[in-house]
Point group: C2
Chain length 348, copies 2
């Protein structure tokens, strides 16, 4: 358990002394550390492996971290925190700018609830159980149950789709403004089956295990479309999409819609991401080639906050072998906890 | 800064020894603490007020907390964490169940980004500046700017409404299924002006400062409706709504719609919340009295995860002086980071 108090204070020695008495009552062993002029720092070790870290910086920020181990008495721990907070308020009354206690952080639990957003923020999900957790040859595939979002597909630590996320599927299909009846549609990626379930034709994906996991555990998203890889009006190819696209280009096969649900735009331009950018460019180029002149290409971008990443992607759109125009839309995908950008691209 | 690694290990002494050399290279001063049989615990104090807490529990969970102060070299800190993680992976290869590094927690910053959800989860917002921060006679009123959500109104630490949250306003107005033309509407609360801006008639609120703050800083939500407390077809009363409702009941004044946007359902049934429950019951009873036989009463409930709280509220609906029926709907409000329940209530 991790909890902290943040306080701007003016009177350090009195405050520290006032708190010490509480730790003494708890029979905690104090160690005062030499910080070489970087404020006051003491640690207190208590029963059951409890640890308190008390710091006061030169700028008057006081932090208290309380760690306890699994099996500790949570009511006692809460009471200790309440006592500390009350004491601080009474010691510092009038001199407190802010007191803040954060919810406990749990580490090493069987169920990991922390899945940071694409823009790097710490968010805790209401996940209560692990439904599926396997490594395929390509990635780690987790399906975890959230009380509010239903089952969530998490690929290599990235939240991909939850059963609540119809807005994602609708956004990447043009937000209900398209008439798919009688049209030919090529879906790249989308192994979760969400788009296919929204009535489409052809699906290409390389990781059979994602399909298997979703077929069983994400039925609110994919319905029954993944039960058979071939339906009356669709076919699922579990293959690398690049050779398939190249074959279509050679054959002159074209589509009314190409929906690229393979991957988000890479966040960094670090060398290790180079191949992802190249992959993105290759897929884009091939996709536009198999798109009919009046066709539309739908794809996800990334977090609305990653403006540089999105700008790089838009720059890339100007360098395709066939000139294109695009529009974009910001959508709230329930399980993402951040707004997400979707693109519509068409031939000029 | 707070960062942790979570690892299940089998070989504690070798691991600890392997990490110690890294801390020695950093010229950090080690203190090994006696935990009375609750695993290994050491603290390391370094330059610039850096502190590392290294723990290994009997169950094989290894945690590393690294704290640093404002002004420390973040690149150096990141490098230290990378070195520690690499070392752990090489020391424990094959015996690691999971490695997890969490984003840094910042405490005491001018801009507080942590606003836990109603169901108690830790979430970090993308807030980059404080727009307004004042205490009224009734509450603390903050308006903070989020990169993705626009300005967010936070009352006493609860996220109330962001400029992105049209879905909230639409939900509490019946999701576009109602025709408000020519109807008489009573809005209780709603000082942010969101509902009023969506074309209504009469608004009752007690905290003039919320109205003032929102009029200036939440214009994407309220438009210009709060510029004047009286418009062609609406009137804003900055008063306690209870006497106003009582007066309407006495006068026999009724409405087609009553929209209660005063407060969410109280989370606890602790004695200190008793008055909120009583207040809720009083408002409900008076509101139903001023509702026409064919009228509808719209209100927010609370987080979809707070099922007990919602059940208590629904129980209360069965104890009104006039029998009612209700329906509910779960809505994704962008800035809430949790799904929210809305009620429609009508006379039987």
């Amino acid at each position: 358990i991790y909890t902290n108090h943040t306080i701007m204070i003016s009177d350090c020695p009195t405050t520290v002394h006032g708190l010490q008495s509480i730790f003494q009552e708890q029979e905690m062993t104090e160690t005062v550390h030499d910080t070489e002029g970087h404020g006051y720092l003491a640690t207190f070790i208590g029963k059951n492996g409890r640890l308190v870290i008390l710091r006061v910086t030169a700028l008057g920020l006081l932090t208290i971290d309380l760690q306890c181990c699994e099996g500790d008495n949570i009511v006692q721990v809460e009471n200790l925190l309440n006592t500390l907070e009350e004491k601080l308020r009474s010691l510092l009354h009038g001199n407190i700018k802010r007191v803040k206690r954060l919810p406990a952080l749990t580490r090493g639990a069987a169920v990991d609830r922390y899945w940071p957003t694409a823009d790097g923020r710490l968010v805790e999900y209401d996940i209560d159980r692990v439904v599926y957790d396997e490594d395929s040859a390509y990635q780690n595939i987790k399906i975890m149950h959230s009380r509010q979002f239903g089952n969530i597909l998490i690929l290599n630590g990235d939240v991909n789709l939850a059963e609540s996320d119809l807005p994602y599927t609708q956004a990447i299909m043009g937000r209900g403004k398209e008439n798919y009846a009688g049209k030919e549609v090529l879906i790249l990626g989308g192994g979760d089956g969400g788009i296919l379930a929204e009535a489409v034709k052809l699906n290409v994906y390389i990781d059979q295990m994602v399909i298997d996991g979703c077929r069983t555990h994400m039925r609110k998203a994919c319905g029954s479309v993944l039960d058979n890889l071939k339906g009356e009006c669709y076919q699922v190819l579990v293959e690398d999409c690049v050779p398939v696209l190249k074959k279509y280009v050679e054959e002159g096969k074209t589509f009314d819609y190409v929906i690229n649900d393979l991957t988000a735009v890479p966040i960094s331009t670090a060398p290790e991401e180079d191949s992802t950018w190249e992959f993105l460019q290759l897929i884009l180029d091939l996709s536009i080639k198999v798109l009919r002149p009046t066709g539309k290409y739908f794809t996800q971008g990334n977090s609305a906050n990653l403006t540089e990443t999105l700008a790089l992607y838009e720059e890339q759109l100007g360098r395709l072998s066939c000139p294109v125009d695009f529009s974009k839309e910001v959508v709230c995908v329930p399980s993402y906890m951040e707004l997400w950008v979707f693109y519509t691209i068409w031939k000029k």
